[in-house]
């Protein structure tokens, strides 16, 4: 409820510009945690911006919410959980590696393995083919022998 009031109070304020001087927490350690958390949270009304960089009012609300939770003693995962409960996983810029998202996270490594595999198969097949090609036919062998004899 307090967060909501806080949110409402800033909703009607002048347009904000990313992190404002009045938002910064006195405790530098907490502030740094707030900045790090903010960089991974999406400004919901913006186009692909995190709340740390966004100028939107909503981003300011979220920044204040993060700081309030931190001051209240929440751990980093608790703050994230708090925001995900309210805004859904859309708020996370780093998607969680669970369920279908495993496809996203494993796509790169799987493709790398597949790429190396394809290259290895092509390579060994090529090798086999050239080894067969490399053997001389009887006529060639005879000619070679003739040349060597001269």
């Amino acid at each position: 409820m307090k967060a909501l009031l806080l949110a409402l109070s800033v909703l009607f304020a002048a347009p904000a510009w990313a992190v404002q001087p009045d938002e910064i927490l006195a405790d530098p350690v907490l502030e740094q945690r707030a900045r790090d958390l903010s960089a991974g949270l999406r400004c919901l009304v913006c186009r692909n911006e995190n709340i740390d960089e966004s100028n939107a009012d909503l981003a300011r609300d979220l920044r204040l919410a993060v700081r309030e939770r931190l001051v209240a003693g929440d751990s980093d995962p608790e703050v994230i959980e708090y925001l995900v409960d309210r805004y859904g996983e859309y708020v996370l810029l780093r998607p969680r590696a669970n369920g279908a998202n495993l496809i996203l996270w494993l796509a790169g490594p799987a493709m790398l393995v597949a790429g190396i595999g394809v290259a290895a198969v092509a390579f060994s097949r090529r090798r086999g083919a050239t080894r067969r090609d490399a053997a001389l036919s009887p006529e060639e062998q005879a000619r070679l022998d003739a040349i060597l004899r001269e």
Binding site: N48, N50, A100, G108, I116, A119, F123
Partner: protein, 657 residues
């Protein structure tokens, strides 16, 4: 009247494109030389019609002809002239016209300088290029016509998006399009070769310069865009992993892979079918990029026109060209026989590794870009994929690439002995690790990013130097210098481009790891310390710009009492578009940028001031420019000029018909 002429020329260009598609393709299939010969005049006239059409649209913008819908929506009489001109492509329709113009330019260049290609290959290349033109000109005329008139012209326009009113707009899109669209040449060559059923060293030699040109322009275009974002958006980010940035980055990665695999085709007649596939995919990613930017399916800061009809059309273009080319590929690729054989430790294998890493990196970017869409459609999960994902999933591939680069680049073709390759690189490796250790001890308790970046960057740059030293061979200094001077330009280009890659790696790592910021309220006249600097907010004044109001601060920066710079950060407001922008003031330096931003006035009479020190920021873009320079050097290599010379010789030898 002149506007109608421009519109008419656009329609004629479409007709020419149809001719350029049908005649040479039919001619090549039937062996009719007259039909094949029609390709060149059709390509030339298509280009000239589009050039005229583009000039007319520019004229409309310069004279503020508000009877044109496009001018009304994107211009204003008070806008400075440079932004009236660059505003031509600061919108969907105009930028699409620029896209078509560049497409026609490439076709015309291929027609003019393609004399030493075999007659049928040349006809087929131009025919495929013409087909792409038909698709895009049709798209332009039927869904996004830039020459639509308004029945009742308004007295003034709605002005251009203020963020775009910047010199960056004059250069960033044209360079980017020269890159995107340039990849259509590699595509056309690939499809033509598949139709012919033949890929040989000559094909590799032909396709490589076109890819080089496209890749160079794309490199410069992306760097310009990144630099523009850095100074315009007000907090100095240089890369956001935005869908539209990714849309330009994927073709860049694939084009970089293609550049390297085409070398193998040219020198060793191997990796043919893979190179063809890359040529198709590189342009495919350009098309997907056009779809992402212009359909609005993915939210992005760049969003152009968000019109579903356009999206469907562009998806159809992408589907038809990719589907067609890949089907042809599936049917014909097995006919492409590789000649060159190579052992597991060889330059060929190293280039295969390069290709795997680049292609997988592009794939990761692709999956990350489209995942929000897929997850919502297939799994009903509404989620975001942002910078933290890409930083984690993409970076390892670049680290591996940089680690392998100097070894692969100095490896001999065909068969190499690892010990022999590594031996001359030992010094570079030791020096790099020493530099990394120095960086590590210099910074305490910070991220591992900067030391790793320093090791990789110096390893790549020193590796490029070792490569050159190897090529200089043995002997006294003058012999070596003479050998180096006589080295093919392509070898210089390779070393320079690789060094550029290293410079960019260092810039990115150093900037990301070491930047510091300071956010505070300052009163006018107040001095505050930030890092080694003392910064004074000397004055804040309001001024009127040509089409905006501005609040400009005068900030004096000193170090140990000695003045360093006076900077003027601004906060502008554009009344027509009703939009504020920040104009950061930057003191550029080789070792650091000092970046100042003025924010809102505070209740107590002070101003919100944000200051950043951005270490080695300019290295990020300097590295890109060096990479592009390397490309240019390689392009100027004698072999390519000999090919061009052979073209004129061959043309002269053809008897008059």
């Amino acid at each position: 009247m002149i506007i109608e002429l421009g519109h008419f020329a656009l329609i004629l260009a479409l007709l020419m494109a149809v001719l350029q598609t049908v005649l040479p393709l039919v001619g090549a299939a039937k062996g009719w030389r007259g039909f094949m010969a029609a390709a060149e005049p059709a390509a030339t006239s298509q280009f000239l019609f589009l050039l005229f059409s583009f000039a007319v649209l520019t004229w409309g913008f310069v004279t503020s002809d508000f009877s044109l819908r496009l001018v009304t929506m994107n211009s204003h009489t008070a806008k400075p002239l440079i932004y009236k001109i660059s505003g031509v492509w600061g919108n969907h329709e105009g930028s699409m016209l620029l896209w078509c113009l560049i497409l026609a330019l490439y076709a015309a260049l291929a027609a003019w300088f393609g004399g030493n290609l075999s007659e049928t290959l040349r006809a087929r290349v131009l025919g495929v290029q013409g087909a792409i033109s038909v698709a895009f000109l049709g798209f332009l005329i039927f869904t996004s016509n830039p020459f639509t008139r308004l029945e009742i012209p308004p007295l003034n326009g709605e002005d251009l998006n203020p963020l775009l009113q910047d010199p960056g707009l004059a250069f960033h899109p044209p360079f980017l399009y020269l890159g995107y669209v340039g990849l259509s040449m590699a595509f056309s060559f690939a499809v033509a070769a598949l139709i012919e059923g033949r890929v040989d060293a000559a094909w590799g030699r032909w396709v490589r310069p076109w890819t080089l040109v496209a890749w160079m322009f794309l490199t410069v275009g992306i760097a310009l865009g990144s630099w523009w974002a850095y100074y315009e958006l007000g907090w100095g980010g240089f890369w956001f992993w935005d869908p539209v940035e990714n849309a330009s980055f994927m073709p860049w990665l694939i084009a970089a892979a293609l550049l390297h695999s085409a070398i193998v085709v040219e020198k060793r007649e191997s990796l043919k079918s893979w190179t063809i596939l890359l040529s198709i995919l590189a342009f495919g990613f350009s098309l997907i990029g056009a779809f992402i930017v212009r359909s609005g399916v993915l939210t992005s800061v760049h969003a152009f026109a968000n019109d579903p009809e356009r999206g469907v059309y562009l998806l159809a273009i992408t589907g038809v060209f990719m589907g067609g080319a890949l089907t042809l590929y599936a049917a014909r690729a097995s006919a492409l026989e590789a000649k060159g054989v190579f052992s597991l430790t060889s330059r060929e294998s190293a280039l295969v590794a390069n290709n795997i890493l680049l292609a997988v990196a592009a794939f990761v970017v692709f999956v990350g870009t489209v995942w929000p869409l897929l997850a919502e459609m297939a799994f009903g999960r509404k989620l975001s994929v942002g910078a933290p994902f890409f930083d984690a999933a993409f970076t390892p591939f670049m680290v591996a690439l940089a680690a392998l680069l100097p070894i692969g680049a100095t490896m001999p073709w065909k068969r190499a002995r690892m010990a022999r390759v590594v031996q001359p690189l030992r010094g570079a490796l030791a020096l790099s690790i020493a530099l990394g250790a120095l960086t590590w001890t210099d910074q305490t308790g910070q991220s591992i990013l900067a030391p790793v970046g320093a090791v990789l960057a110096s390893w790549v740059v020193l590796g490029a130097l070792v490569d050159l030293r190897q090529r200089a061979g043995r002997g006294d200094l003058s012999t070596k210098a003479r050998r180096l001077a006589r080295l093919p330009r392509a070898d210089w280009g390779k070393a320079v481009a690789h060094a550029g890659f290293g410079i960019t790696i260092f810039g990115v790592a150093a900037l990301t790891a070491w930047q510091t910021e300071d956010i505070r309220v300052a009163q006018v006249g107040e001095t505050f310390a930030f890092g080694p600097y003392e910064i004074t907010l000397a004055d804040v004044e309001r001024f009127d710009g040509p089409n905006y109001d501005t609040t400009m601060a005068r900030m004096e920066v000193a170090r140990d009492g000695n003045p360093v710079a006076t900077l003027f950060p601004e906060k502008r407001f554009y009344p027509v578009a009703r939009m504020p922008t920040t104009e950061a003031a930057i003191d550029n330096g080789i070792l650091r940028d000092l970046y100042l931003v003025i924010g809102d006035p505070q209740d107590d009479g002070g101003w919100a001031i944000r200051s950043y020190i951005k270490p080695f920021a300019n290295w990020v873009w300097a590295g890109c420019i060096v990479m592009a320079l390397g490309g240019a050097l390689s392009l100027s290599d004698r072999r390519h000029r000999v090919a061009a010379g052979a073209a004129s010789g061959a043309a002269a030898a053809v008897p008059a018909e």
